[in-house]
Symmetry: none
Subunit: 222 residues, 2 copies
Amino acid sequence: MDKELLGIKVVRKMISLISTGVYRPERKLPAERKLCEQLGVSRGTLRQGLADLDSMGVVKIVPRSGIYIKKYSDKKLPKGILPPNFKNISLHDIVNARKIIEIPAVALACEKAGKDKIAILKNHIIKMEQSIDDLPEFLKYDMLFHQTVVSASENKVLVTAFESISEYLKYSQVYTSVHEGEEEKAMKYHKKIYAAIKNKQKKAGVKILANHLNDILESVKS
Amino acid sequence: MDKELLGIKVVRKMISLISTGVYRPERKLPAERKLCEQLGVSRGTLRQGLADLDSMGVVKIVPRSGIYIKKYSDKKLPKGILPPNFKNISLHDIVNARKIIEIPAVALACEKAGKDKIAILKNHIIKMEQSIDDLPEFLKYDMLFHQTVVSASENKVLVTAFESISEYLKYSQVYTSVHEGEEEKAMKYHKKIYAAIKNKQKKAGVKILANHLNDILESVKS
DNA sequence: GCAATCTGGTACAATTAATATACCAGAAAT
DNA sequence: ATTTCTGGTATATTAATTGTACCAGATTGC
């Protein structure tokens, strides 16, 4: 049985942080001394993981300057690889699966969401509003909002299930079907869902999300 | 970031081996010197893991006799046992996630299951009956049955989501159908689900599965 | 311009986890 | 009665991780 070296945990964590947009391509990472504090490892261990990420081409370490996330690192990440059967999947199935998972999740979220998750939800809404003229950005925070809702259910198994299909969501036409003018509508839905979770209004939250996803389902049927 | 102690991996591995029926409740485990060779760890590390399993009530260590797998009375899944990426997962969460995904899936399966999937389901039931005295085989086909049910929903996104949590199902199996004599009960339940899907009795299928998972959920609450 | 501060690169002792080895004592098999 | 099994224990060794310290180039503030 192999011992799990901390260095590879750092690699995994960093990939996760990059893929979720916490750290963004072309940008500089926090200094090593800050990073190792944030990740809760010693600097030596962090550097071990960073060296791996460097050799994988995910980051570039520049002496006396900083550590930079490479531009197209997303495509090299394991999670960035589309499932092979992607093209055989219908939008209808994607939205239906979302309904099945997200609706119970929002019900749980209304019961269990903590202040931290509520704060994150609010932040995502703010970011959505700020990037309402930048569709890729808008959709990114749309996505993060929904992931946070599932996360707020405090059921990590459900989170795992949802994460596994988030690639479908990302690359599907669902988001490109949010045409101009649809952003305002999406904003209203998200704000209502946020309010329902914050005020623990379970029935309202379920109803709003169901309507939201049904709207998407309608726009998909064509 | 917590260091992953090998002892915890031993605990996980042992639970996995018990849940897959390699080792069965009320029976004696191989001697420590054999076990640590099989698991690929030193005896000290193995004993550390076994001590945890003992304090959790999973096994009972009897000096100068052996290590015996206990029947579970404590349904709690202790922290830090499950795979490193998803810590603090409770059995409650696992069963809840199963409910959320499998119940809509069986409803869809009753609507959409084709002859091919029905044939596969029947085959899994036959294999389960044939291997009723071979627990690892039995649980294997038990698992395949559930995956086929979700697959019969004809929603590939849902299948992906379910596959991503199937690793956790075996942990829930530890506490459910692993005991001797439970196999017959599981058989009856699977046969009823199969009949409901075959005869497209949506409400019946949902009810049977919901009752079963609610039973498990109830026994878990303690 | 200069000094303080930042950056990654490096070295080394202390701590901790895991291994390998040996031996003990009771129990069971031969 | 002796060999061989069992878990319990002790210890030296190896390796991973931490913590601390310092280096040298680059940047920032005054």
